[in-house]
């Protein structure tokens, strides 16, 4: 473990962390801008040109608000809740390959924090941990509505994790590896993207990603009209900010994951035919990757202002009676096609 390697990784981790936070910050602005666009109004435009200072104002407001811990709340768990939420949101980005390698001098720098050979499972574990933050926060608030939101969040998250895992299994049958880096490398060019071989799997994964991020139309844990706010009802100040922030980070990470798994990651069409040097391919790849991520984030927001919220039993029915059977059918279909391919072609 040489020093340069450590420095390189520390710089990379810091960079990814900062980029994640900045994107999450500006997602809040983008959300309101998109809402304005959808509803034919301007959205926030007072703080700075086009309102680009709005997230800073929001952050400042969160910091300076009064910090309230309810008298009946369980203090340590009340603080632990948002902490876990934000940590699990952030550590997911560790295995995502952001780009190919950069060559500076004679050093080759991989634009991925770590290429573990079980990257997909790692992501899955992190997603599974995310529910603790919500559950603990909701329970520790000592409020019926919070608890109800927390229980809803937990059952929703567990139910949709199943369908998500089954959709991933079909994908893994095609890719035959669990390493995210290798999955991306297999999808070079345009025709090799996994979306063309796993359209149904992608659809299931997309729906489950919406549910895991607690986004509309699956935002039952925090619906204002039924639960006056949901699991974060008793939270104020920066703790509420952390919950909201973790939600936007989750959105960013799951967008990155979908782009990685199904849309070729940093690959773009004709990437080796343009006669570019490796460094340029890498840089353009990173830009393309982020463009894909932004497209997904926009899609998240688009859906938010298009579809109404599900009723709770509809949500559970969709998860257990539609998505899981579909995912299993997808696995069987993938298996049959693989066997036919192997034997006849």
């Amino acid at each position: 473990m040489e020093l340069a390697f450590v420095i390189e990784k520390v710089v990379l981790v810091t960079l990814i962390f900062v980029v994640t936070l900045v994107i999450a910050m500006y997602s809040t602005l983008a959300e309101r801008k998109v809402a304005g666009f959808m509803q034919d109004r301007f959205g926030p435009d007072r703080a700075g040109p086009f309102g680009i200072l709005q997230p800073l104002c929001d952050g400042g407001k969160f910091f300076f608000k009064e910090e309230i811990i309810p008298a009946g709340a369980h203090k340590s768990l009340f603080i632990l809740g948002p902490t876990i939420a934000i940590i699990t949101a952030c550590i997911g980005s560790a295995v995502i390959p952001w780009g190919q390698s950069l060559t500076i001098g004679d050093r080759v720098i991989e634009l991925q924090v770590t290429d573990v050979n079980i990257g997909v499972l790692y992501m899955f574990g992190v997603v599974a941990l995310g529910v603790y933050g919500i559950m603990l926060g909701g329970w520790a608030s000592n409020n019926k509505f919070s608890l109800m939101g927390a229980v809803r969040a937990a059952s929703q998250s567990i139910s949709y994790e199943l369908a998500m895992g089954l959709a991933l299994i079909a994908l893994l049958m095609v890719t035959q590896t669990l390493s995210l880096k290798e999955i991306v490398e297999q999808q070079s060019g345009f025709v090799n993207w996994n979306i063309w071989v796993q359209p149904l799997g992608f659809l299931i994964f997309l729906v489950c990603a919406f549910a895991e991020c607690n986004r509309v139309p699956f935002d039952l844990p925090e619906c204002e009209t039924e639960l006056i706010g949901g699991y974060n009802l008793e939270y104020s100040s920066m703790k509420l900010g952390l919950y909201m922030f973790s939600e936007y980070i989750n959105m960013f990470v799951s967008s990155a994951l979908m782009a990685t798994l199904y849309f070729g990651g940093y690959n773009f069409p004709f990437m080796y035919d343009l006669g570019l040097s490796q460094n340029w391919i890498t840089i353009i790849g990173v830009i393309v990757f982020f463009a894909k991520i932004f497209a997904f984030i926009f899609f998240f927001m688009w859906i938010r202002w298009t579809l109404p919220r599900f009723r709770y039993d509809q949500l559970m029915n969709l998860g257990w009676k539609v998505l899981i059977p579909l995912a299993i059918a997808n696995i069987v279909l993938t298996g049959v096609i693989t066997i036919i391919n192997d034997t006849f072609f």
Binding site: G125, A128, L129, M135, W139
Partner: protein, 165 residues
């Protein structure tokens, strides 16, 4: 090497916290940390796949279920009546006797080989998968049936019977 001692200490410490904490929710959270130390143990033993499975299944699913049930039953107050000291004493004696017996029997054993990497790829997903689908195919299929049965059984048990109520 020192990593092992540290992690072993943490496992035992948090396991003790698990059973001596009064509040069930705290106790379940300590158990989550204990399971996390198990994950580290598995990585030390070069069983990466098992480590991740432990992480997902235990920390992600089973412990969430525990928390879920605790929250549904609303047992967050210290409602658990204390057992008489006699029973606790018996529990301690039984646990310690078992521990002493096990430790003594380990001492009698030959000092085993150091845990070395006989086959460094032993825990990789592909190798374990090949073994599961060749040598252990029948148990694998049976366990899948068992899981299905457990799922149906759990749903049936937990469901409110509309006719009864």
């Amino acid at each position: 090497m020192s990593v092992f001692y540290f992690v072993a200490f943490l496992s035992i410490f948090f396991a003790l916290m698990t059973i001596f904490t009064k509040n069930p929710v705290h106790s379940v959270l300590y158990l989550v940390i204990t399971f996390f130390t198990f994950t580290v143990h598995y990585i030390l033993l070069n069983a990466q796949f098992l480590a991740v499975v432990n992480f997902i299944v235990y920390m992600g699913a089973i412990m969430v279920l525990f928390l879920f049930v605790l929250m549904l039953l609303n047992l967050n107050k210290d409602t658990e009546p204390l057992k008489s000291n006699l029973v606790k004493f018996m529990g301690v004696i039984a646990g310690m006797c078992l521990l002493v017996t096990l430790a003594a029997s380990f001492r009698l054993l030959q000092i085993s080989d150091p845990v070395v990497l006989k086959n460094p790829d032993i825990g990789l997903v592909s190798n374990l998968g090949k073994v599961l689908f060749s040598d252990f195919l029948l148990p694998f299929e049976i366990s899948s049936i068992l899981l299905l049965t457990a799922m149906v059984g759990a749903v049936l048990l937990a469901k409110n019977d509309p006719k009864k109520v």
